[in-house]
C-alpha cells in the first residue's frame, strides 16, 4: 500500500543488528505519519528468531526470505520481488557493509531511486523526504521522489527504541526468485579478533601522525578496548602504512557518527573533520593548542599524547571496575 514501509533487517543467527533496529524504529515513526505499516524482511539462517525483535521495534509483519544471503544478487531479487508486490512508500536498509551493497542492487532491479546513507527521514505532504550528507558531510541535501523511494539509514543516526504499540507479528515465507549472476562468494576470512564495525561503533578512538610510529598505536588500541570502542586513524597514518585502509576516518575513508569520538594526536585537516564532525561528543588530545581539531572538540586537552592517553586509559578502567 502507498503508505507502507519495507525494512530489510539484518541479523546474526536471529539476533537483529542494532543498525536494523534503528531502521525499524525510524520506519515505525514514518509509517505513523504516512498511515501505513512496517513490514520487516529477514533472510538467512535463524531468520525466524529475528521476528520478535523486529515486532518489538515496530514491524507489524515479518517476512522471512528463503534465500542464500551470501548471494547478494539473489537476496536483492527477493527483496525487489516483495517490493514490486507491495509498492510501498519506502524500502529502508541500514547503511552497513551488507546494506550499502544490497540497496543499489534492489534499486537497479526496481528502477527506483535510492537515497544512500541518510541521517534523517521525514514525511512532508505525504511524501518521504530523505536528508543525507554530501561532500563527506560538508553539506546536506534533502531529496524526495514520486512513488517508491529506497533509502539506507546511517548507523547511529536514529536511536533504536522499542515500540510497544506494535501489533501481532505474523511471519510468512518468500522463496528466492532467481540465482545470482556470475559472482560467487568463495571465502570469508574472519579478522584476527572480532572487530566492532567503525561506522557502527558507539565509541571511536582515532590516532594520527603525532603518535610518531606505528607501534605507538597501542595507546589508541588500549583506550579503545577500555571504552569498548573501535579504532580509527587519520589519512596520514593510513597512507604511511601504519594502519589498514578500513580504519581511515575522513573524506576518502569512513564517515563516523559515534556518541563519543576521541582524536589523539590528530591535527584535524578539513577532510578528517568532515568524517567525524557529527559525532555527539568530541575529545581531542594534541600538543599543538592551535590544531584545527580543537575548533570542533567539546573537550580539548593540550598535551603530549604519550602522557595523557595512558592516564586516561587507567581512569576509564578504574571507573569501569568501580561500576
Amino acid at each position: 500500500m502507498a503508505g507502507d514501509i519495507l525494512v530489510v533487517a539484518e541479523h546474526s543467527d536471529g539476533a537483529v543488528k542494532r543498525p536494523s533496529l534503528e531502521a525499524l524504529t525510524c520506519a515505525a515513526g514514518l509509517a505513523g505519519s504516512l498511515g501505513g505499516s512496517v513490514t520487516a524482511l529477514v533472510a538467512g539462517p535463524g531468520a525466524a528468531d529475528a521476528a520478535s525483535a523486529c515486532g518489538a521495534h515496530g514491524a507489524a509483519k515479518v517476512l522471512t526470505l528463503d534465500v542464500d544471503v551470501a548471494d547478494t544478487n539473489a537476496w536483492a531479487a527477493a527483496v525487489a520481488g516483495v517490493a514490486t508486490e507491495a509498492s510501498p512508500a519506502l524500502v529502508l536498509f541500514s547503511h552497513t557493509a551488507r546494506g550499502k551493497d544490497l540497496a543499489p542492487r534492489v534499486a537497479g532491479k526496481l528502477d527506483r531511486p535510492l537515497a544512500s546513507d541518510c541521517t534523517e527521514l521525514s514525511v512532508d505532504g505525504g511524501a518521504v523526504v530523505a536528508r543525507r550528507p554530501v561532500y563527506a558531510g560538508k553539506a546536506l541535501v534533502n531529496v524526495s521522489a514520486s512513488g517508491t523511494l529506497l533509502a539506507t539509514l546511517r548507523p547511529n543516526a536514529v536511536p533504536a527504541t522499542e515500540n510497544a504499540a506494535a501489533g501481532e507479528t505474523s511471519a510468512a515465507d518468500v522463496k528466492a526468485p532467481e540465482k545470482g549472476l556470475g559472482a560467487v562468494l568463495a571465502e570469508i576470512v574472519a579478522a584476527a579478533s572480532e572487530k566492532i564495525e567503525l561506522t557502527e561503533a558507539a565509541v571511536v578512538v582515532s590516532g594520527g601522525r603525532g603518535l610518531k610510529e606505528a607501534a605507538n598505536f597501542n595507546l589508541v588500541e588500549d583506550l579503545a578496548a577500555a571504552l569498548g570502542g573501535a579504532v580509527g586513524a587519520s589519512r596520514a597514518v593510513v597512507d604511511a602504512g601504519w594502519r589498514p585502509h578500513t580504519e581511515q576516518v575522513g573524506q576518502t575513508g569512513k564517515t563516523v557518527s559515534p556518541n563519543l569520538y576521541i582524536a589523539i594526536a590528530i591535527s584535524g585537516a578539513i577532510q578528517h573533520l568532515a568524517g567525524m564532525r557529527t559525532s555527539n561528543y568530541i575529545v581531542a588530545i594534541n600538543k599543538d593548542p592551535e590544531a584545527p581539531i580543537f575548533k570542533v572538540a567539546d573537550y580539548g586537552i593540550v598535551g603530549d599524547a604519550f602522557e595523557v592517553v595512558p592516564r586516561l586509559t587507567e581512569a576509564v578502567k578504574a571507573a569501569a571496575a568501580a561500576g
Partner: protein
C-alpha cells in the same frame, strides 16, 4: 583485454563548500576540480592489468560538463589509451539512475571485458552508479574491492565484509567492479605521459539524459558545532575530562 573505466570530475577534497544561488547545489566558483579519488584506483587497476597482459586497451568514460576533458586528459597521461566524454551541462539531471543509463548506453558499444568504477564519487557520496550500471548491462558486480586478480576470463577479488571480515569473490567476466582505497597506489602522470596524452583521442558525445528520478529539494550547510573548548593541559586534565564525560556528556 578491453577495460573500461568510469570516472567523475568532482570538487577537490579540501574545498570549503558554499551553497549556490539556486539553493540546491554548491557554489562552484573558484572550486578546483579533481578526478574522484576512488576512480583513480580504478584507472590504476586497469593500467596494471593491461601492463601485466602486455596487450589490451583502456578506455576512460565520463559523464559531466565539457570541462571534464581536463580530468580525462589526466587519465590519458597516466596511460589510458582513449577517452569518451558524455557531455551534459545540467548537473540536476545527473542522478545515479540517469548517470548509470548514460554510461551503460555508451559502454554497451565498447565490447568491454571488464568495467571498473570508483566505489563512490566524493561529491554526492551515493555509491550506486557502479551497481546500477552492472544491472543495466546485465553483468555481475562486486563492490568496494581492495584486491584484484584476473586470469582466464575470471576475476578473483577481495572486499571487506561485516565485522572486519575479508570476503573473496570469484567473478565471471565481463563484470563491473567498484574500487576502494587499498587496491593500489595510483601513479602520477609524468611529463612523458602528459606529452603523449596530447595526441590521444577524446571523443565528445552529447549525453541525452532523461529527467532525474530523484529531486533535490534543498542543499544546506550542517548546523555549526558547539564552540570548541580546551579544558586543561597535560595528564592532570584527565580527572576533569572524566568528570565531564560522566556528568555533562553522560557517555561513560
Amino acid at each position: 583485454m578491453n577495460i573500461v573505466v568510469c570516472i567523475k570530475r568532482v570538487p577537490a577534497t579540501d574545498t570549503r563548500i558554499k551553497v549556490g544561488a539556486d539553493g540546491t547545489s554548491i557554489d562552484e566558483t573558484q572550486v578546483e576540480s579533481i578526478i574522484s579519488p576512488y576512480d583513480e584506483f580504478a584507472v590504476e587497476a586497469a593500467l596494471q592489468l593491461k601492463e601485466a597482459a602486455g596487450a589490451g586497451e583502456v578506455t576512460v568514460v565520463s559523464l559531466g560538463p565539457a570541462e571534464t576533458t581536463k580530468e580525462l586528459r589526466t587519465c590519458l597521461a597516466m596511460g589510458a589509451d582513449k577517452a569518451v566524454l558524455l557531455k551534459d551541462g545540467d548537473a540536476a539531471k545527473r542522478d545515479a539512475q540517469t548517470t548509470a543509463a548514460a554510461l551503460a548506453a555508451c559502454i554497451s558499444g565498447l565490447n568491454a571485458d571488464l568495467v571498473l568504477c570508483g566505489k563512490q564519487a566524493v561529491d554526492r557520496d551515493q555509491g550506486q552508479v557502479g551497481t546500477l550500471l552492472a544491472a543495466k548491462l546485465g553483468l555481475p558486480c562486486v563492490t568496494e574491492i581492495k584486491k584484484l586478480e584476473v586470469a582466464d576470463g575470471k576475476a578473483t577479488v577481495e572486499r571487506a565484509g561485516d565485522g572486519g571480515t575479508t570476503e573473496t569473490w570469484n567473478v565471471t567476466l565481463p563484470a563491473v567492479l567498484t574500487t576502494t582505497k587499498g587496491l593500489n597506489e595510483p601513479r602520477y602522470a609524468g611529463l612523458k605521459g602528459i606529452m603523449a596524452a596530447k595526441k590521444k583521442p577524446i571523443e565528445e558525445v552529447d549525453a541525452a539524459l532523461d529527467d532525474a528520478h530523484i529531486t533535490v529539494k534543498s542543499l544546506e550547510l550542517p548546523p555549526p558545532r558547539r564552540e570548541g573548548r580546551i579544558i586543561g593541559e597535560g595528564p592532570d586534565a584527565v580527572d576533569e575530562l572524566m568528570r565531564l564525560l560522566r556528568e555533562e556528556a553522560k557517555v561513560l
